[in-house]
Structures are given as structure tokens and as C-alpha cells.
């Protein structure tokens, strides 16, 4: 991974990546304050504030239509905010937009690659558009194809690629100029589980060492795995922020849920399970819920304890907190999907 340490610093082929801030110091690479954006009567962002320290991964978590993509589009200089400010790598996203574009990389759910060009040609084109000399653009393209496991597909048009390969090529394109700040807009939405896992591994490996990453996602497990800190947004407002553990604590963490053969045994079940949990189990909606700290061995222990107490089990399962759990805990309502995606609303307003 020796080569990875160059991300975020000026590499030999990137003469002008002076970042305006020093990675690893107390400076924040992304500072968003009171950001507002409306499309007609739809308020996509209603005064959103958050920040990300240099070299960390910030997860922006929320359902479709929460305003995640709008926030990324503003930070990527693609859209002007109605109110509020945002500074990235020390530059204002509106006033310094042109200079900022040399310091950001954007990859996301669209896998924005030219399907008629080969993988190599796509990366070479992006390098040339960053004004790298042709020879440097080619060297960089080959380097990235190797790192992203695309060497064998390098000479094939991107339309022959699988969904996962396209995302990797898209991410490689975002990293051509070694940007100090990287935006990943729902990088695994629409991928199958294998593709998602492989993308996670790629993101973990490629974003190490100095790059500040803003990741948007609808999946708690994705934010959990990749993000240092998580900002939860809903209907254009920040409703919670913290580390993954802090958020999970707010929704109760993992728990064992038991349906009883006879609900008259509920009190006995609570006592039996209470000895192995850090919090007293509850009985609600015909289900006994026992919060647990770890997963290993607890299921077998729970079954043994209930059996020993003579409690008949109809159904028993381990439940992890989901995004819905977070939303129910934070807002009191489920994270319902918006009927229209935010971009469509934008288009209606345009």
C-alpha cells in the first residue's frame, strides 16, 4: 500500500494539488453551515450544517429524497445554494468554484463513464481534462487500472463491464488527480451483495491515508463500516450525528427478539434473559426484546436459558438496528421513501 500514501498529497503527475490545509491537523476539510436549497415549493435542504475533519470519512445517511444528493451537488460546485455557506479544502464552493474543482473527486450511483470508450480511454480522457500531459495521463490511467483490478478489461468498451466494474472505473476516474477531498454519492446503490462487498473493500483500500471522504448512503451498515462519523438527515434537516456506536446506542443496538408459545410466560422469559443482558428485556407487541452487546454465542445461550426456565419458544431471532430503527428512534416515524426523487423535483422547478 506504499503508493496509497500519496493520496491527498502532490504526486509527481499532479503538480498543483496544494490543498490549502494540512491533512492530519485540526483543520476541517469540509465545513457546511446553514445550507438551504429549494426547488419550487420543495425544500431539499433546510439549514443543514456539518463538518468533516481532514483525512476522515463522513457518512451522510438518509432515505431517498432526504437531501443527500442535493448536498453533494452543492459541494461538488454543480449547484448553487439558496442560503448558507460551504467551504471545502479551504475554498468557498460558490466564490472559489473554479479553483475547488481541482481538489475534489466525484463518484456515485450513476457510474459516470463513457460506455463507448474503453476503461483505459475513459481514465486517459479524465486525466487530459485535468490538463495532465498526455504521457502522464496514460501512466496514471494504467496505474489506476491496476489498482482497481481492471487491467484485463482495460481495452474493452465500458458497456461490456458489470455494474461493479463500472463503479470501480467511476471511482478510479474520481481519483485520477489524487483529490484531497472525495465525494461518493451512494456508491453501492443498485449493486448486488457481492458487488457491494467488493466496492466496500475498494473504498476502504483506496481512500486510506489522507483523503477526506464524504459518503452518502441509505444503508446503515454501509455507513457503519466505512464512516468515522455519521450525519443523519431527513427532509432536508440534520436529525442526528455521531459515531456509528453512538447512533446504535440511541436505537438500542443489537437485540434478541423472542415470540413465545404462551405469552403468560413473558415474566419468566424476561427474568431468564435478563441475567445475560446489560439492560432489562422488554415485552411489547407480543415480542420479548433483549438488547445484547455481542453476537457470539448469545443466541445459543438465550435458547438454553429459556429452555431451562421452561419457556416455550415460537420464534427467536437476532435483530440488528436498521435505518428504519434509527429513524423510528430519532423521528418517531418510519423512513418512508419519497414518491419522487429529488432530481426530478429539481427538473420540474427548472
Amino acid at each position: 500500500m506504499a503508493g496509497e500514501s500519496r493520496f491527498g498529497r502532490a504526486g509527481p503527475a499532479a503538480p498543483s494539488t496544494s490543498t490549502g490545509f494540512e491533512p492530519g491537523t485540526d483543520h476541517d476539510a469540509i465545513v457546511v453551515e446553514g445550507l438551504e436549497k429549494s426547488y419550487g415549493s420543495l425544500h431539499a435542504l433546510c439549514g443543514v450544517s456539518f463538518s468533516a475533519r481532514a483525512g476522515t470519512v463522513l457518512g451522510l445517511l438518509g432515505p431517498n429524497g432526504a437531501g443527500k444528493t442535493t448536498a453533494v451537488r452543492i459541494l461538488a460546485t454543480l449547484l448553487a445554494p439558496d442560503a448558507g455557506t460551504a467551504r471545502v479544502a479551504g475554498l468557498d464552493v460558490v466564490r472559489d468554484a473554479a479553483a475547488l474543482r481541482a481538489k475534489i473527486g466525484l463518484a456515485g450511483q450513476y457510474a459516470a463513464v463513457d460506455e463507448n470508450l474503453t476503461g483505459f480511454e475513459n481514465l486517459e480522457m479524465v486525466g487530459r481534462l485535468y490538463h495532465l500531459p498526455r504521457a502522464d495521463a496514460r501512466v496514471r490511467a494504467n496505474e489506476l487500472l491496476e489498482r482497481f483490478d481492471l487491467v484485463e478489461a482495460a481495452k474493452r468498451p465500458a458497456k461490456t463491464y458489470s455494474g461493479g466494474m463500472r463503479r470501480r472505473l467511476d471511482l478510479a476516474a474520481a481519483l485520477v488527480f489524487r483529490p484531497p477531498v472525495l465525494y461518493l454519492d451512494e456508491p453501492t446503490t443498485g449493486l448486488d451483495p457481492v458487488g457491494r462487498l467488493s466496492m466496500w473493500e475498494t473504498i476502504e483500500a483506496r481512500t486510506a491515508a489522507g483523503t477526506t471522504v464524504l459518503l452518502t448512503t441509505q444503508y446503515l451498515d454501509e455507513a457503519d463500516r466505512l464512516a468515522d462519523r455519521i450525519v443523519v438527515i431527513d427532509h432536508g434537516s440534520v436529525i442526528a450525528e455521531g459515531t456509528s456506536d453512538e447512533l446504535k446506542d440511541r436505537v438500542g443496538g443489537e437485540r434478541i427478539e423472542v415470540r413465545l408459545e404462551d405469552e403468560a410466560d413473558a415474566a419468566q422469559a424476561i427474568v431468564a434473559l435478563g441475567e445475560m443482558t446489560h439492560e432489562r428485556p422488554t415485552f411489547e407487541d407480543h415480542v420479548v426484546r433483549a438488547p445484547v452487546r455481542t453476537r457470539s454465542g448469545v443466541m445459543a445461550e438465550a435458547v438454553r436459558r429459556l429452555d431451562a426456565a421452561g419457556v416455550g419458544i415460537d420464534d427467536i431471532a437476532m435483530r440488528r438496528p436498521t435505518l428504519d430503527d434509527v429513524f423510528i428512534a430519532l423521528t418517531g416515524h418510519a423512513a418512508e421513501e419519497e414518491p419522487a426523487e429529488e432530481q426530478e423535483n429539481e427538473e420540474m422547478a427548472a
Binding site: 460546485t77 466525484l106 450511483q109 459516470a112 463513457d114 480511454e121 480522457m125 476516474a173 427538473e347
Partner: protein, 258 residues
């Protein structure tokens, strides 16, 4: 790099990208060349016998018009390509790069010129086979006519760029192009002399830029009276470019993926 050199470099990189796709999409190339050939054959052999063009063989009258129409529509690939790029998120990528704001559209419109040169070769070949001849035309006049056609194609590329950037999909771009602009070419002297049209339509056809430009090319290639058509034709092409290029660039700066 100066900003002008930067724009030029970006434009060439993107023009190359647009041309690289042509041999990889042979169906596009075929559609591009077969369609004008079909028009020539249809009009010469199906409608030609029924259309009166006093003083000319119909094929001589028709070819300048068909060439004007085909080249004007050559930029249609720009509408389709841009609608596709917007839909696929490529425009978002380009707009997030530190590159010239006009380069994506300049690259498109310039590669259209190259494609239109290819179309011209096909059109002239099929035209000569169908019996077309230049009448009293000097080399300068022939070249001026070709230049005028290519200039018209360039101006229309910007119109199609704007359509592409306003379309939510290539299918929409297709529908807009064929319902708004295609009929304009028929209400003109492209296929028939405007004198044969009823009142109302005739007056419209007389001020239609397709009439001005078709008649200008005819005066250069067939020795018909020039009047002010040649100058007016260049004025039209310049005006269309000057109006639509900034509109398209302005739209590019705010366009969003669907």
C-alpha cells in the same frame, strides 16, 4: 496553461471522444448515411415525377435542398449524445472537473462538422449517381456552397445541443427534434418551389431560413439568380450560432442529471 489553450485542449479531447465512438457504433453510422440516401431516392423517383420545377431537372433542384436538410440534421447526434450524457451522469462529472465550461459543447459541435463532411461525400455520390450536375458553377462557387452547408450544420448543432440539454432522455430529444424542426424543412423550398404553395404557407416558406439557404446553395451551384440569398444565408447561420451557442452553454452550466 492559458485559459484559451485550456479550452482548446479540452475541446479536442472531447471531440476525439465523440469521434472514437463512431466506428464502435456501426448502427449509428449506417443510420447516419442511409437516411439521406433514402431521402434522395424517395424524392427523385417517387415524388420527383409529380413535382414541377420549371427550367430544371428535379434532381438538380432537389440535391441542394436535400443536402441543406441532411446537413442541418447532422447535428442531431449532438442532441441524442448530450441527452444521453446528462442521463448517465457524465455531464455531472465534466462539470465537476477543472475544465472549460464550453468544451463539452464545442467538442460536440466540432465533431459534428467532421461527421457532416462524411455525409456530404455520401450525398454527392448518390446525387451524381441519380443524375445531379452542377450548372455554370465555378470551383469557388461550389466550395462556397459546401462551406455554407457546413456552417448551417454547425449553427444547427448548437440548436440541437440546447434541445439535448433540455431533454430528459434521448427519446425526448428525438421527439422534440422531429416535431419542432423537421416540419420546418418541408415548409420551405427544400423539396418543392414555394410558388406552388397556398397563400399563408407560401409567405411562411419565403421567410423560412431553410428557403433562404436552399436558394442560396442553388444560386451557387445551379446559376439561379442570387438576389441577396447568399449573403442572407450566411447572416442566418451567424445569427443562429450567436443566439443558440450562449443559450446552450448557459443551460450546460446548470443542467442536472435525472
Amino acid at each position: 496553461m492559458s485559459s484559451l489553450a485550456m479550452s482548446a485542449s479540452d475541446t479536442l479531447v472531447l471531440a476525439r471522444r465523440n469521434l472514437a465512438r463512431i466506428p464502435r457504433q456501426p448502427d449509428l453510422l449506417i443510420a447516419y448515411t442511409i437516411q439521406p440516401v433514402m431521402f434522395v431516392l424517395l424524392f427523385v423517383y417517387v415524388f420527383g415525377g409529380a413535382i414541377q420545377t420549371p427550367g430544371f431537372d428535379y434532381v438538380d433542384f432537389l440535391m441542394p435542398g436535400i443536402i441543406v436538410q441532411s446537413i442541418a440534421f447532422g447535428g442531431f447526434v449532438t442532441a441524442l449524445g448530450l441527452a444521453e450524457d446528462v442521463k448517465k451522469g457524465l455531464i455531472d462529472r465534466f462539470r465537476s472537473l477543472p475544465m472549460s465550461r464550453a468544451a463539452v459543447l464545442l467538442g460536440r459541435t466540432i465533431s459534428d462538422v467532421a461527421l457532416n463532411c462524411l455525409s456530404l461525400v455520401v450525398l454527392f455520390a448518390v446525387g451524381f449517381l441519380a443524375g445531379f450536375n452542377f450548372i455554370d458553377a465555378s470551383v469557388v462557387e461550389i466550395v462556397a456552397g459546401i462551406a455554407l452547408c457546413l456552417f448551417l450544420g454547425y449553427a444547427f448543432s448548437w440548436i440541437f445541443a440546447l434541445i439535448g440539454l433540455f431533454s430528459s432522455s434521448p427519446e425526448t430529444a428525438n421527439a422534440i427534434g422531429f416535431t419542432l424542426i423537421f416540419p420546418l424543412t418541408f415548409a420551405s423550398s427544400v423539396f418543392v418551389p414555394v410558388e406552388s404553395m397556398p397563400d399563408g404557407l407560401r409567405q411562411f416558406a419565403e421567410v423560412n431560413p431553410f428557403t433562404t439557404i436552399s436558394d442560396a446553395v442553388r444560386s451557387l451551384w445551379l446559376g439561379t439568380p442570387a438576389h441577396t440569398d447568399v449573403w442572407m444565408a450566411f447572416v442566418w447561420c451567424t445569427a443562429l450560432t450567436v443566439i443558440f451557442a450562449p443559450l446552450a452553454v448557459a443551460r450546460y452550466r446548470t443542467v442536472a442529471a435525472k
